[in-house]
Point group: C2
Chain length 321, copies 2
């Protein structure tokens, strides 16, 4: 069987452009929404890129789909594997289905039932393991070694970052131009891909990140000039509890990304605004971007700001208000 | 002062096309969403026209905007008036603002606070009255006589119907073609406008309506061959508690509209599906169309079906589940 291949280096702008062409037959061109009420409230001109309306309900499909369709036929036949049981796991299952290849998804004990069901419905082969990072990685490696499936990491993978960067590329085509763009920051795949894509189009675009105060390792790492160590996350933003990846962090530094931290209360208030004013279902992680813009009116005043709304996979029976 | 002018006759297909051109600078081209899960569940190919993402959060803006921009300058200067404190009142206020003319909205005691606030925020002049149909109509007539404002009825108005018919016109342009289209039925403005517009494009398109069992006067009227009298509505679909208009009913008969009735339980189940699968906020009235399609799989099997999702103005603190 093959050895694990690392894809942690950063993609180029050309890689993002290639990804856009590669995923075009499968990904949704998601709409851009605007709200006069939110413009007045923020003092800026906001364009919301609705990746909650992407296939699988999250931007993750873009990265997973690019990874799946980057494989040569021989590798593709052996399938793909990941240890994310959230939106990325679901996205990889959906992407693998577009190519008719097996997707193996590691599901830790205690994973959210509805998410696991969605992954199963998408056709993935589930592998159970204990609920910790080491067990998940070990299980993924075990499956990889046994099947030859290609590991597709949720954020430390250049193919995934390139695919995720296509969201802002599409947004820029839809709106014509932006002064700034902001994405949530967890592992940093979307933010790094966004920075590379946006600056490929125009180096003048300011790239921002939004991070919950209860998982603010990226903000602290940027302040310290180096990656801080593991931490215990304490935030309702379940998609952002991850330590920023190594290459991802380097990309954020290189591209001078500004990260704004927001409290869970600010996230919930922003989430309510998005539901009420845009009439869309977005998850907590997505709301960080609006919370950050509203928190720093002086920073965004009068600007054309693109906000990537990352996903809409919410338990509507357990809303945080 | 001028005498009241009735606009209860039906619009022509040409009127719908004129309306589309007239509202183009102001209305949102709303996106069309699809879901593999809902296709499998229904056995049909569903295209959801997201009028919940329209300005003001409802399709009502199309009709109100067409009415406002149909006025000559002299009449426009005197403003517009309506006795709907719901989505139509809000839409008329927003539409009047696009032309910089006064909008008078009659607000009955006990109207939903958030809706009244939205209408006020849109710049309308509010007029309070007692909470019954006679008081609302009397107050509207009083305001009309005093100000010369043009009455824009929520559904018994050809300009309103023509504007509302533009939604399906746009949908047909977006998807290329449909076997059937379905809208909720309350006063019948949207459904009549939809029938006129759809059959103007292709007489082969089957036009359907969805009505709550607790406000099924249109279904009963079609069955009886004549309009049944007033009734006491009993449904959570607050936008559909109206008796179908006279001209509206004639339009539905002429266009051989099939109306399917759905229970509140079926509406709530469909609403949950729309939130979970499409990731959008829709109100109860909108969910009737999916409920109707799911209720009659044999009727829609294998068809390309367009579903007009009418609005997203929901109190997210009081969801019906």
């Amino acid at each position: 069987m093959s050895q694990p291949v690392l894809h942690a280096a950063l993609p180029s702008f050309a890689n993002v452009q290639e990804a856009a062409a590669r995923i075009k037959p499968y990904a949704v061109v998601t709409p851009v929404l605007r709200s006069q009420v939110l413009n007045v409230l923020s003092g800026a001109e906001l364009s919301f890129k609705c990746e909650n309306l992407q296939r699988g309900g999250a931007f993750k499909f873009r990265g997973a789909c690019n990874a799946v369709w980057s494989l040569d036929d021989e590798q593709a036949a052996r399938g793909v594997v990941t240890h994310s049981s959230g939106n990325h796991g679901n996205a990889l299952a959906l992407a693998a289905a577009t190519r008719g290849i097996p997707a193996h998804v590691i599901v830790p004990d205690g994973a959210v039932r509805t998410k696991v069901e969605a992954i199963e419905r998408a056709g993935a082969i589930l592998h159970r393991c204990a609920n910790n990072q080491a067990a998940r990685e070990a299980k993924a490696e075990e499956v990889r070694a046994a099947t030859g499936a290609e590991l597709v990491h949720p954020y430390a993978d250049a193919r995934v970052m390139a695919g995720q960067g296509t969201a802002v590329l599409e947004l820029l085509q839809q709106v014509g131009g932006l002064d700034a763009v902001i994405t949530p920051v967890g592992g940093g795949g979307l933010n790094a891909g966004t920075a590379i894509a946006a600056h490929g189009v125009s180096p003048q675009i300011a790239v921002h990140g939004a991070e919950p105060t209860g998982a603010d390792d990226t903000a602290r790492s940027l302040a310290a000039g180096q990656r801080v160590g593991p931490f215990v996350p304490d935030t309702i933003c379940d998609g952002l509890r991850t330590l920023v990846g190594e290459a991802n962090f380097e990309a954020l530094r290189m591209h001078r990304v500004e990260v704004t931290t927001v409290t869970d209360e600010e996230v919930i208030a922003a989430m309510r605004l998005l539901w009420n004013e845009l009439k869309i279902v977005v998850e907590t992680s997505s709301a960080t971007v609006l919370a950050a813009v509203l928190k720093r009116p002086e920073r965004f005043k009068g600007q054309q700001v693109g906000l990537i709304l990352t996903g809409g996979n919410v338990d509507i029976d357990a809303l945080p208000w």
